[in-house]
């Protein structure tokens, strides 16, 4: 049997360190919001032949009355050609009319280059803001639902504290997902929220299996063993399950991730990669954080009562 509860200091240190570094990096380099949340415009053009990016940008800027745009190159999934991704600096998005003017100007300036619009994305700042708040509310609502559910199901083993600690473990997982966005400089988007919500459910699922074992063992062993021992036994009994389930989900999500990278499906990369990290973090936190943290709290309470 592995003494997981006994090594809690190691786990807590590793996790805290990663979380602190993530927060520091986020504060120093700042985290960008995707245009879904902050508003703005991105247009992707395909073209043939050689194009000067600077001139291309100037053509667009002249239509916009001098507003700056930034241009990046991106490989097209289907054609394999390089596309130009134009990001406007304004947060308000542009009207379909203005957008039409830009296209007309580009077609006039580059008649030989078969310029075509591959995709456009245009979000008004106020809609983006509403959507951001809604997403945050969704995550909060889901967390509360989880606490209430766990508190109810595990009321015999101190449900509320069990619920709160499993959600603390969740915050930990969310920070790991956040870390992927921070370190890879991915703007926070709807994928981030979807991943966070999924990890919420996934990690709680893993924690539930362990709590369930604690509940069963408490019935079997009663007060014969210490709380730390009880929790540690339960974690160990469900360890193979935790590992195997994680492996199978990691296989599935890992495949998605690899295929998305090979074919450059960017909307899926920003979804699958954080999901993968979140799942590993979720499995780790269920085993090494949620249980040990809860034991610490219960022992602290006990000590207080007796002291």
């Amino acid at each position: 049997m592995i003494n997981i509860v006994g090594r809690k200091k190691i786990w807590f240190t590793i996790s805290s360190a990663i979380i602190i570094v993530t927060i520091l990096v986020a504060l120093i380099f700042s985290v960008e919001l995707d245009i879904q949340f902050r508003g703005g415009s991105i247009v992707t053009y395909s073209h043939s032949g050689e194009l000067d990016k600077g001139d291309f940008a100037k053509t667009i800027e002249s239509v916009l009355g001098g507003e700056k745009v930034s241009i990046q190159e991106q490989r097209d999934v289907t054609t394999g050609e390089m596309n130009l991704v134009v990001t406007l600096s304004s947060k308000q998005g542009i009207s379909p009319e203005k957008y039409g003017e830009i296209n007309d100007a580009l077609w006039a300036a580059y008649p030989q280059n078969n310029i075509e619009v591959v995709s456009t994305s245009n979000v008004d700042a106020s809609i983006g803001h509403d959507f951001l708040i809604k997403s945050v509310v969704a995550v909060a609502a889901a967390s509360v639902l989880m606490i209430v559910y766990i508190a109810f199901r595990f009321r015999k083993i101190g449900g509320w504290s069990a619920g709160v600690f499993s959600v603390l473990a969740l915050l930990h997982d969310v920070m790991f997902v956040f870390a992927v966005f921070v370190f890879f400089r991915i703007p926070l988007n709807d994928s981030f929220i979807a991943v966070v919500l999924t990890i919420l459910g996934y990690s709680i699922n893993a924690t539930v299996v362990i709590y369930d074992r604690i509940r069963e063992n408490k019935r079997l062993l009663g007060t014969k063993v210490s709380l730390a021992e009880l929790v540690n036994t339960s974690i160990n009994q469900s360890l193979t399950r935790s590992i195997n389930t994680t492996i199978s989900t990691v296989i599935a999500m890992g495949t998605v991730c690899v295929v998305a990278i090979v074919y450059n499906v960017s909307s899926i990369i920003t979804f699958a990669a954080p999901m993968l990290v979140g799942m590993i973090a979720g499995a780790y936190s269920s085993v090494c954080i949620a249980g040990p943290l809860w034991v610490t709290w219960q022992e602290h309470k006990l000590a207080k009562k007796h002291g």
Partner: protein, 454 residues
Amino acid sequence: MKKVGKPMFFIVAAIIIGLTALSFLGVSTTYGDVPTKYIKGVDDIRWGIDIRGGVDVTFSPPEGYDATDEEMAAAESIIKVRMVSQNITDSEIYTDYNKDRIIVRFPWKEDETDFDPEDAVKELGETALLTFKEGSNGPVVIEGKHVQEAYVALDPQTGNPVVALTLTSEGATLFSEATGRLKGQTISIWMDDTKISEPVVNDQITDGNATISSPNFTTEEAKDLADKINGGALPFKLQTENFSSISATLGLGSRDAMVTAGIIAFILVSIFIIIMYRLPGVIACIALMGQVAGSIACITGFFPNIPSFTLTLPGIAGIILSIGMGVDANVITSERIKEELKVGKTIDGAIDSGFSRTFAAIFDGNITMVLVAVVLMGAFGPPGSIFARLLAPIFRWFGSSATGAIYSFGYTLVVGVIFNFLMGVTASRLMLKSISKFKAFKNPWLYGGVKNND
């Protein structure tokens, strides 16, 4: 626990294989040139606009204008009429009455080669031109600005729903003259270039209060017509708040890549689970196949009471994710069976307690996934969806989502979890119990126990 007979394995396996074949292939016949669909297969999946390309646009009244619910409904009906007149039948239109926004998503037409989202969007948001014309396409009698309002009323004599019109005083004068002249003939009502109704003039209408009746009007049809007429009388032009578009070629490559990923993931997970758990692993793979088939069936509209669902790239990722998570129930029970064998139980006893003792954990785990998936669907779904309504007390003050792709992920996740529960618990138990009755499968080694040498 109920007795499970030997044939049960074959019955359950046959049902799963049948479901898989049907949900993937569908059933259709072609009689002459007329194909008839009985059961929808994967070919009938409605792909999201992130896959087949299309436009996603949000309209709202001009800033500072507080539109009433009736005006928003009228605006929505204008867009619907225009969609149909442009031959776009596969659009999704949602109106958010709290935030006064209309979200429209439509794919490119199949034969379209010139993808011009800007024109399509501009056209949809234009003020509708409502006209009443003499006969089926004669001179204009009155216009949208002459209509004060249209609403559904009940005919006092017949009790049938009718559309009542209130005209402005200028409209009343014009209409009185026309109805006097056209008694017994028809007046057609047009929105832009689409005829929406052509009632017969029964009497001269002098007071500006007209009703349009039809012997077989349903309340819905009457409301629909009233909305359209109101649409032509809207005092504002819709503004574009958001719009995004994607070309038709970009997404298909991504979809094919994701489908490949799904197949690879299924094979890898199957190999892993069979190596880890031997016979229960094989059973888990059959159950997993059933789970995927169930998810597909819920997307295609296979079950008569579950409508088809738009599948996006994140939606496919959701199916793959549920493949990975789906074996969890089997992992938990197989682990437990192994444990029970270790403490000396018979195969039968081990299988029984393996399933019964893990039920609570599997149930709890699945419930938490269902809860988050419901929140996901509420947060990212259209305003009218059941989940959005369920969560309306929390979300009503926040706008609808700026993207539609994630909704599909929530859906595939929730159906994946539900089928996982059905397959991983019920179907797996029946199959494992029945197969263990066969002499060839009585070796504990097959269940992760110690090899039986007798």
